[in-house]
């Protein structure tokens, strides 16, 4: 956990409303684990006031990369940054996926919806390096919401995809696609990130089939490092339910521990 006030942008990619920025920050890169995130200062002024959290999308020896979608002013300002600009970032923060050498030889499902695909790329690299098989399930509203499809394909991952509008791949939600695929095979473990409802559905499927699953949760974050108590989610702890700070104890939690938000199923 360090602050790098001057992480230089060394690469920028853009697909319609999606962007990736690669940031030179050797100290953060050295510590980064898949599933962890960084807090990025998006404005030098007071609007927006707070930093914005982004999962670490990939890393190299000297760089960490973020991948994001424009959803408001903060991400819009961030999308306007150019190579050679510097960003003020904190990281790596939180606890990532429990994906260690013990997964060698296992068959792992990574399920990502929309911008939720961001941390799963880093994870796919990790899993591969540990000798696990990672199959990717990637969903978006439309064709345009699958900007990373080619990247996964090019690297030879077993990739399944869906779009809500059927403009590419399976027509429907990625949770439905996943359910269909589970009729054919059973992964040893599931890691997922995406919209709340999607994760909730995946969690139900995982519990039904008794597959261990981890989810990367979101919440509005005030600080990202445990000081504000703003980012809590309802989590099971020793048979009790607690409001847990996801910036410290998450953002990744076991599906068994998460109390999902109520909402339209």
């Amino acid at each position: 956990m360090v602050k790098d006030p001057q992480a230089r942008i060394v690469d920028k990619k853009n697909w319609k409303s999606y962007f990736s920025l690669s940031l030179e920050s050797p100290r953060i890169a050295a510590q980064a684990q898949s599933g962890q995130f960084i807090m990025v200062r998006v404005s030098a002024h007071t609007q927006p006031l707070l930093r914005r959290p982004f999962s670490i999308h990939s890393k190299s020896e000297k760089t960490v990369e973020i991948f994001f979608q424009i959803t408001g002013l903060g991400t819009e300002l961030l999308s306007q940054k150019k190579p050679e600009d510097s960003l003020d970032i904190l990281g790596p923060l939180g606890k990532g996926f429990e994906a260690g050498k013990n997964l060698k030889g296992k068959d792992i499902a990574l399920v990502g919806g929309g911008r939720g695909i961001a941390p799963l790329y880093f994870l796919s690299q990790k899993l591969r390096s540990y000798g696990a098989t990672a199959r990717i399930f990637y969903g978006g509203k439309s064709q345009e919401d699958l900007p990373l499809k080619e990247k996964f394909e090019k690297e030879g991952f077993d990739l399944h995809w869906s779009t809500d509008d059927g403009s590419s791949g399976f027509k429907g939600f990625v949770s439905d696609l996943f359910k269909t695929e589970l009729e054919k095979y059973t992964p040893d473990r599931i890691f997922a990130c995406g919209p709340e409802l999607m994760m909730k559905k995946i969690s139900l499927i995982a519990q039904e089939k008794n597959i261990p699953a981890e989810f990367s949760l979101e919440s509005v974050m005030g600080c990202g490092f445990g000081a504000c108590w703003g980012c809590v989610r309802r989590i099971k702890r020793d048979n009790r339910e607690e409001w847990v700070k996801i910036c410290e104890e998450g953002p990744v939690f076991s599906g068994n521990d998460i109390i999902w938000e109520e909402g339209d199923e």
Partner: protein, 303 residues
């Protein structure tokens, strides 16, 4: 060498910059980013006697140059604080202040009574002004009588100095300040957050689960500064100013308006190094202006 120390009478701070309660965790969260020993001090998150859950999320919403929070004072209670946190804080060479909460006067007193047994606490900041617990932001600091009774009871109970933390959600903050002073407060800190709300026009629901929350950050600075100026001009005890301080310049405005020290809140989220940077900026200003002792700057507004 500029002397940045300020003397609150009951307490000497190495510099006027204090991390504000609820924005500085238990202090330890900032260890990766700053040397806590450099601070004038910090105030830990509000403590009730027993552990508390706080409000359901969403607890935070951003507004133009501001932040509304409805955290609702979650915390580990005095017992775990004294066992798990305090021993780790004692090793720091800075001033530790505990922000004391209570559902009623007796709970305030019991927190103080319990903590009085432990070393390493310099003073209590009495949080009689949190807008996030009761409906419509009710709290003792909205009335001179309730302020007087809370402060005088706690003052009687405590072996340590009491800083009464005032609310900005009042017609006449000077009146409340005078009540706290009369009740025996050793210092005043102001302001806590402004009762506020935001609406999601898509869902037509409040953006905070608690409907109302407390507004902090640069947006409120002009109002908080005015209140600090009013109060500092009327009480004899020292005043600690806060509200929207992001930079040394902001801190200086408060000191010139009469604050003996300042607390830095929301800024810590934006930049965990804020407190330390502000101290540096105070030093630079003094050096540039040829001010040997920052204390000579306090209350020098030419009005």
């Amino acid at each position: 060498m500029t002397d940045l120390s300020v003397d609150l009478g009951f307490l000497k701070l190495k510099n006027p910059v204090i991390g504000a309660s609820g924005t500085f965790g238990y202090g330890l969260e900032f260890e990766p980013y700053i040397d806590l020993n450099r601070l004038g001090g910090f105030v830990v998150k509000g403590l009730y006697f027993s552990p508390r859950e706080g409000n359901p999320p969403p607890r935070l919403v951003e507004t133009p140059s501001g932040l509304i929070n409805a955290i609702g004072l979650p915390g580990i209670g005095v017992k775990r604080f004294s066992e798990e946190i305090l021993p780790r804080l004692q090793k720091f060479n800075t001033t530790i202040i505990v922000n004391v909460c209570g559902e009623n006067n007796e709970e305030y007193a019991s927190v103080v009574e319990f903590l009085d047994k432990y070393d390493g606490i310099a003073a209590y900041e009495l949080n009689i002004s949190c807008p996030n617990v009761e409906q419509d932001g009710l709290c003792p600091a909205l009335s001179p009588e309730a302020t007087f009774s809370a402060v005088s009871l706690v003052k009687k109970t405590s072996s340590r100095p009491i800083i009464a933390k005032l609310s900005p959600n009042v017609t006449d903050v000077v009146q409340i300040a005078l009540s706290a002073e009369e009740a025996g407060a050793d210092a005043l800190s102001l302001v806590n957050t402004f009762l506020a709300m935001a609406v999601d026009i898509e869902t037509r629901k409040p953006k905070l689960s608690n409907i109302y929350g407390g507004l902090s950050g640069p947006a409120i600075k002009p109002i908080a500064l005015r209140m600090t100026h009013q109060v500092a001009g009327r009480v004899k005890i020292p005043v600690i100013g806060m509200g929207g301080i992001l930079t040394g310049q902001d801190a200086l405005e408060y000191m010139i308006a009469g604050a003996k020290a300042v607390e830095v809140g929301t800024a810590n989220f934006i930049d965990p190094e804020s407190t330390v940077k502000i101290i540096e900026e105070l030093r630079e200003y003094c050096q540039k202006k040829g001010i040997d002792r920052i204390e000579t700057l306090i209350g020098t507004l030419q009005a």
